[in-house]
Assembly symmetry: C2
Homo-oligomer: 818 residues x 2
């Protein structure tokens, strides 16, 4: 085929696929549908009264403030409606993802014409009154958003923050073999990093077990105020790019409506047939393969069908069509006239009946029932969600004879639990991660489900590759993509877990923010059924970035999460392996949360047997009598911690203190559920002040060793009685190439520093404490020297267990069994 | 050319460019250089003693803990050393960016062989003692990092968090017309979103005024534990991908050293000549164009030249070569033997002389002086930094007759200042942003420097496009890319500013984190000269996301920044336009900081004339007597704010209070410099407790209206005297489609809520206050109703100015002129 080289979006259709599948009459019908849809989009932006222009347009009919975006609407509408033809023809199971920013007018108009919008929101009925409300409340306080927000029927993707349409689409079709996600990608969005790499998702899509994504890259040429890159490179480069990404791009370019209708209809049909053909071939043969999946490049003018110019300024086909296309009809009567003329050209008189209802021939183009894309239950994932089949987490308990004497990897143990969840849920659960699952010691999962890989296979893969075309683990070195997949997967009714190094999870701060916001809104929307929680497991934690150095030290993701709605976010820092099991079991069963679990992957001390762990995690925070010597009352000091490494150091600090002050009344408090610390008015998990005092007292020094930044504990506890007694240690920016010990010492979260903190804060020890203080300092220096000599932490620190024999005599006698 | 289709990295060289530029003798020399470099890389990972294997290798010579990564080293070394030939031949100005994670052994070995490392760190001398230290301290506590950290000579790019090598490289060559950034991109890194879109940077590079980036995509095939996508797609797809991105890819593939030396030498030379040719053509003609710039795809085995197998497991050419290639030589004597054999195959006996110095023929391959890539001053940007030529910011003052009676856009005004900075610094300053510069009301800058655009041009661009091939404004819809460009630009000695919508700046949380860490480390490194600060201007703030809705509401970036080192981060929230000018002037002149400035773009009240603004910004926080009625002592309440919108509401709340309680002693405190709030032990800007008390008292209720999350103020002030009196209002996750007023009301940061807060906290007003309280509630409800009716905030709120005539009589008399 000779390449058509024009980059201008104007003229008769130029398309890769030829064909005229539509009759003249059909062209006319689609033209009507397009007009009605564009009319609705403009109405949303402009009109508060006179919704069908039954009287001449006056400025009093206009909204006082014009808000909303027209630019991407026509091309999205065009795509949506022509796909409807194929849904009807082939009885397709499909839904629509609107990638371009502020794409709501496009999808709202379709949902309204399908009748879904009025079914979901009866007051926005298909008549003049309903239409007026529909228009008025668009981009209006408390009303309808200008993005495809959770209130939008059929949406799982808001498109507020750009970049995630393709990864969301893929997430939704994994394990949904009959589903097609028709995904319009904006050429602005396409410039973002997350979108640019998400095209590679095809290397993880299996045509037997998964559905298909049909992307339509809409080159309307402009962003807010700039041309787009992809609209200004040669046809050859553009085509090469998508072939390079592994797609077969089909071009549909132009603005002449009649020929464009034919071209789009023919191209979409060709793509659907190709998708179905590849799926059939793979499914019939049982042999998966990676075809070059079809995608469409739809080049149309921005604000297609708007006036080409307003005065001397280009509108259609320029960035001025991005938002409100004609900005001043209220003050410029010529512009008001132009607007009216434009709107009337969409023929509202003809296309809506006397009552204001769309005429039957429009409705006839829409599919029925749940085949209407805005009614597809997959986009209200809670409706189709099946609970996970869960093994009994108690069966994976780490067994030990005595608390705090056994070292083992909580993560490695938990991997067996995860493995069996995978085995029990072969179509309903996936594990996601950026190439770190094995490094995070979760490799046992591969026994139940290998890593999905649709790229080429080499001989070496047979020996430890753990790759398979049909697998359960999704790994790509793009936190953005795996997070996007997980979000799409969960929002369409399935379950999953993302595992990541703690320090690099900041890469997806903004994505997690947006998901939290999505879930929070969903809580307010009656018809949105609850979806599985988004579970994020952070490991390879900041305290064990052994020698990786400063760039790998950042525990701040917890703050990002804690800033989101208390209705949505949950943060757990299990101190040991049995607590990790209990917490994970809870998270996997929960709905509509974003759960963040922080647990290191290295060997750590195990403290609680399974029953004690369940009890502790259920409470979320509690005194550990075994590690306390205050017999439940009037402690001299409260040692507290949150996080596994923090806990070990806190307990070792108690050990040190008791060596020197055997009669010391120490209370140890462990926190698993971070939001227990906050007042109940701020988070539903918050404990009452009474409970707080029963744990921490109102007048005792508290040495709180925390996994993340110390001020996070202050922020959570500043309203607590006796909050001035809380002395928090945590991570601060003082990094280096460090051993774990050195890192804790620099941050004063090591046992020696904590013990010194405790002495310094117990007034009655000020005199007695000097010798002990010095002994701790000496021991700290000794340990440092050893570490600097060998490059490793001294074994008596790394392998420290509790209790050390023969130590703290009086105190030991007081020990209460847990 | 027939396409070579093998994806296996083994065998004789397969290359696009043919040729044999090297003599047999040269091949031998480069082979030696390669061997010496690989030997050094292994030595760093394994040896603490016996650095040149002058005696048989024993386990006692091994480091106790083996850390470091070999996988990407050989191919990076190979690239680096063959480029040296061209530096010498053509006297090139070039430096090296190491993209693959943990790439330090590659660059350290080169710096050591060039002699630069020993010049910078004399104790790591070019002899046995120095070598032993060099080896020992690699990945050792307090020692040499396993990434190209700031301590690494010649590095501006650490490669800890992956994804930014290409955007950093482009940033460094903008306005550096003679510079070539030789940039190795890992195939793991290439999967990240930021990297995937950064390839498009060519659409912003002008061959006349800018230098060139020569990317070498190293397909070593594996990440930590997975194959890489780009190594497992067909040659056709891979080639198409880079053509699509706008590059001309040249392939060099194989593992046979002799033929690979020839192929790489020929290919690099071809690329350099092509780069120079394009530059010459453009410069001679004065006509810029976008060539298809050359790039190289270097496909080699991971851990190239490592043993192919260890026992039955693949090592070379598999992911097992990623990190420490042979993991257990200390406990497995066969493996110790294998390691020794492997290391001796690199012939350390021959390649280092008796003293341990590299033999002269190795040194002879390196360029001299600053032409050595690890000595290029561009990578120590402070050395080449020229101060900005600054216009006098006072000349841009917003003039007004009376404080708080004029509404204007601080941002639009500041744009004139920015415009003139651009004009005065045509080669030394650029403005960066993700397609929002115009929307952010900074459009005036285009008068001095247009937007760089090397894509196709259309007719429409002439009418408001503001595009040019040589411009000063860099806009791409990728926060990642523009931030990466800015970082590269600043780190190589220039100046810049990023402007962004506040809510979406979280997209680059992790990048800013990493830059803060980089700068912090630089402060500790004597030879690193100071670079210009990284300036981030946040606007389109969370409080004015008019109708954009919930997804556009997130003020949390300030917390991300505040968590970084106090030596590096600065946060300013100027209350008005003259303060914005003063703050921006300060930021643009500063060095080695990350400055974040938050200022809305809409029209706002102007409070301070230029002199007062300078004084206020210099102090960073202060009482505004004009808006206070306490005559400087014993206030009944302190109303405080930080942020422009917050300030307006706080002042309006004072107005409301005074209407009802004309004798109220109100003190108003404004905070510009956020870190003034924190104790000086925590940040150098922190004020003393004495100053704190002089502003806030220790016993008066404080109603603090804050731009971001309220707990941030608590976190900053929890150590302050009387901190229990601080009542903070700020943003919380309660979003919706809102008018600005409604958003503040939901968050209780509006004037009515603040006035009610004040009443509720002034004990002596408990009885007198009931009527006023009710009046405020009524007014609030009325204002809401109006807004819900019209979709707009009532004009008496948006246009509220101070003082309203005839109000608060007694209080007005007390006003002190500022």
């Amino acid at each position: 085929m000779a390449e058509h080289q024009s980059l201008e979006p104007f003229g008769p259709a130029r398309s890769t696929v030829k064909g005229s599948p539509l009759s003249e009459d059909e062209i006319k019908q689609y033209d009507d549908f397009f007009k009605a849809s564009c009319y609705l989009s403009l109405g949303m932006i402009y009109l508060r009264e006179n919704p069908l222009l039954r009287e001449p347009l006056k400025k009093e009919h206009l909204k006082l403030r014009l808000l909303g975006h027209f630019g991407s609407a026509p091309a999205q509408i065009f795509t949506y409606m022509h796909f409807n033809r194929l849904i009807k023809k082939y009885d397709l199971d499909a839904y629509f993802i609107s990638g371009p920013g502020h794409g709501a007018p496009a999808v709202l108009s379709q949902s309204y014409l399908e009748g879904v919008y009025s079914e979901v929101y009866p007051e926005k009925s298909q008549d003049i009154e309903g239409l007026q409300k529909f228009f008025k409340y668009f981009s209006f306080p408390g009303g309808i958003g200008s993005h495809a927000t959770p209130e939008t029927p059929g949406s799982i993707h808001e498109g507020g923050e750009l970049g995630y349409s393709v990864s969301h689409a893929f997430g939704s079709v994994f394990d949904n073999p009959d589903l097609i996600a028709l995904t319009v990608v904006g050429d602005g969005e396409a410039e973002t990093g997350p979108l640019a790499t998400a095209w590679h998702s095809t290397k993880f899509l299996n045509p037997i077990v998964d559905g298909a994504v049909l992307p339509v890259l809409n080159l309307n040429g402009y962003k807010i105020n700039n041309p787009t890159i992809l609209a200004r490179i040669s046809h050859h480069e553009l085509r090469s790019l998508f072939i390079g990404y592994g797609w077969e791009p089909y071009f549909v370019e132009g603005d002449d409506l009649d020929s464009m209708h034919q071209a789009m209809a023919a191209t979409l049909e060709h793509c659907v047939n190709q998708i179905r053909g590849y799926q059939k071939k793979a499914r019939d043969s049982g042999e998966a393969f990676r075809p070059r999946w079809p995608m469409i490049v739809l080049r149309t003018p921005k604000g297609w069908t708007a006036p080409r110019k307003v005065d001397d300024n280009y509108l259609e086909g320029f960035w001025r069509a991005h938002q409100v296309p004609i900005t001043d009809p209220a003050t410029n009567s010529a512009h008001l006239e132009l607007l009216e003329e434009w709107m009337r050209a969409y023929e509202p008189d003809r296309l809506f009946d006397k009552s204001g209802k769309p005429i039957p021939s429009l409705r006839a183009l829409c599919p029925d029932g749940n085949r209407r894309m805005s009614a597809n239950p997959v986009a209200n994932g809670g409706l189709v969600r099946k609970p996970l089949r869960m093994p009994n987490f108690r069966d994976y308990a780490i067994k030990f004879d005595r608390s705090a004497t056994t070292l083992s990897s909580s993560m490695k143990n938990m991997a067996r639990f995860m493995r069996d969840i995978i085995a029990l849920n072969p179509h309903n659960f996936r594990l996601f991660g950026p190439d770190e699952t094995e490094s995070n010691k979760l490799g046992a999962v591969y026994e139940a489900g290998k890593k999905v890989w649709m790229g080429e296979y080499f001989e070496e893969d047979k020996n430890g590759g753990n790759l398979a075309m049909a697998g359960r683990v999704m790994e790509m070195l793009s936190e953005h993509t795996v997070e996007g997949w997980l979000e799409g997967y969960v929002l369409t009714g399935r379950h999953g877990l993302l595992n990541s190094y703690e320090p690099f999870i900041h890469v997806i701060d903004s994505m997690v923010n947006q998901h939290c916001k999505w879930i929070e809104k969903c809580l307010e929307i009656e018809w949105r059924a609850k979806v599985a929680s988004l579970n994020i497991l952070l490991t390879s934690v900041v305290w064990r970035q052994d020698h990786n150095g400063f760039s790998h030290q950042d525990p701040g993701f917890l703050e990002i999460v804690a800033n989101k709605s208390p209705e949505v976010v949950r943060i757990y820092l299990p101190p040991d392996g049995n607590c990790l099991l209990s917490v994970m079991d809870h998270c996997m069963r929960s709905v509509n949360y974003v759960n963040v679990v922080v647990s290191d992957k290295q060997d750590h001390l195990q403290y609680l047997d399974m029953d004690a762990a369940i009890e502790h995690c259920t409470k979320g925070i509690g005194i550990w009598p075994r590690f306390s010597t205050d017999a439940g009352k009037n402690p001299d000091v409260v040692m507290a911690s949150c996080g596994d490494i923090s806990t070990k150091e806190s307990l070792a600090a108690i050990d040190l203190l008791l060596q020197h002050f055997p009669d010391l009344k120490v209370r140890y408090v462990n926190c698993v559920d971070l939001f227990k610390l906050i007042h109940p008015s701020e988070h539903p998990h918050g404990m009452s002040d009474k409970e707080w005092v029963s744990l921490f007292t109102a007048d005792t020094p508290i040495i709180f060793n925390f996994h993340s930044y110390p001020w996070m504990v202050h922020r959570l506890t500043y309203k607590r009685p006796g909050n001035e007694n809380i002395h928090v240690r945590g991570y601060r920016e003082k990094g280096n190439i460090d051993t774990p010990l050195e890192l804790t010492i620099r941050n004063k979260t090591d046992r020696f520093s904590l013990a010194i903190d405790a002495i310094d804060r117990m007034k009655h020890l000020q005199n007695r404490g000097a010798a002990a203080r010095q002994a701790f300092l000496d021991a700290q220096i000794r340990a440092r020297e050893e570490a600097f000599e060998t490059g490793m932490d001294p074994p008596y620190l790394t392998q420290w267990t509790w209790p050390r024999e023969g130590l703290w005599k009086k105190a030991a006698e007081k020990l209460v069994s847990m």
